[in-house]
């Protein structure tokens, strides 16, 4: 009976939200980039599920509603992109060019390296959108047979890694223009990169948000076309 309760929709939903709240609190207290709320919540949930013997199938069914909410968030990004579009006017050509080039390089390099290292095709598909924001990335791989779980974890790790490494790499390359810096961070490290860019500067932050949206839109069109 206890097992049934543990596998029930209400318990698993509450557990998910609870882990997320706990994860967010820990992240806020410690400010350690690696302790991103999503990674923490996933860790907590996985530990609890293994510990309590909760089957993954029960969990997936119980949390189906989040899938709908996530798709709605993807649509909502259309609004965010529109909000940012004013910035586009000033540097329209260079921004669009940089993002398109970045998108091709991003997808090409990750897929190329995965194949070169001999991993399975499904890994290549799941990792292809790793530079873009997670809700779009997941939405992109789903119709192509990618594994959403791998995509979401890789995207989050890339966001964390990119946001930590980007300022140093950009310094090393001598990229001093705030628009270029913000664009690079948003394009490579999407939302997490944008959060970091905002800490660095208002211009960088705003451009990063724009980069995230554009990169998402461009990559979301490139990947399905290249894989099919």
């Amino acid at each position: 009976m206890i097992h049934d309760f543990l596998c029930s929709r209400i318990f698993l939903l509450a557990l998910t939200v609870g882990s997320y709240v706990l994860g967010t609190a820990i992240y806020r207290r410690t400010h350690i980039a690696l302790l991103h709320p999503v990674l923490l919540s996933v860790a907590i949930l996985v530990a609890m599920m293994q510990g309590a013997g909760i089957e993954y199938e029960a969990y997936a069914e119980a949390t189906e509603i989040f899938s709908l909410l996530l798709n709605l968030s993807v649509v909502a990004l259309g609004y965010l992109l529109w909000e940012q579009v004013d910035r586009l006017r000033a540097h329209a050509l260079s921004i669009v060019t940089s993002v398109i080039v970045g998108s091709i390089v991003g997808v090409g390099s990750v897929v190329g390296i995965v194949y070169l290292m001999g991993a399975d095709e499904v890994i290549a598909i799941s990792m292809a959108p790793k530079s873009i924001t997670a809700p779009i990335a997941v939405a992109v791989v789903e119709p192509l047979g990618g594994i959403k779980a791998i995509t979401s974890v890789v995207v989050i790790c890339v966001g964390i890694f990119g946001s930590i490494v980007a300022p140093k790499l950009l310094d090393w390359l001598g990229i001093s223009d705030p628009v270029a810096r913000g664009l690079a961070m948003g394009a490579a490290a999407h939302g997490i990169g944008t959060a970091r860019a905002i800490e660095i500067g208002a211009v960088e932050g705003a451009v990063s948000g724009l980069a995230m949206g554009l990169m998402g839109a461009v990559t979301a069109l490139i990947i399905p076309l290249s894989f099919s």
């Binding site: 996933v42 909410l69 996530l70 992109l81 940089s98 390099s109 290292m117």
Partner: protein, 111 residues
């Protein structure tokens, strides 16, 4: 609430178009592009969807969590390909940062 209805409608439209075109691009992405287009040409007033969009977007991380948990179902696959995953992700990320930064800096100067 009305904002949420707009977003649902655009999502539904996106899903429909996605199915009609063979499901290559997901409904959410099509819906995103449709919403952007509708806002850009003024068919939908931004104020109507602003609040609903912000609520969804600010809680987005929570919606991801079940996806992350799904990794346990793919554990073997990840473990078998772990090295490829890590190297590909790291190198590719560095390349994107560098290339986008360089292209923008070079082109931005000239314009």
């Amino acid at each position: 609430m009305k904002g949420l209805l707009y977003i649902l409608v655009f999502y539904a439209a996106g899903e429909l178009l996605s199915r009609l075109t063979g499901g290559i691009v997901s409904g959410g992405v099509i819906g995103m592009v449709l919403l952007f287009a509708a806002l850009a040409c003024g068919a939908v007033k931004a104020e109507r969807v602003r609040e609903a969009a912000h609520i969804l977007l600010s809680n987005m991380s929570l919606f991801f969590v079940p996806l992350g948990v799904g990794i346990i179902a793919s554990y073997d696959l990840v473990a078998a390909n772990l090295w490829s995953i890590v190297v590909a992700a790291a190198v590719s990320t560095l390349l994107v940062i560098a290339i986008v930064g360089i292209v923008q800096q070079k082109m931005g100067r000239r314009l």
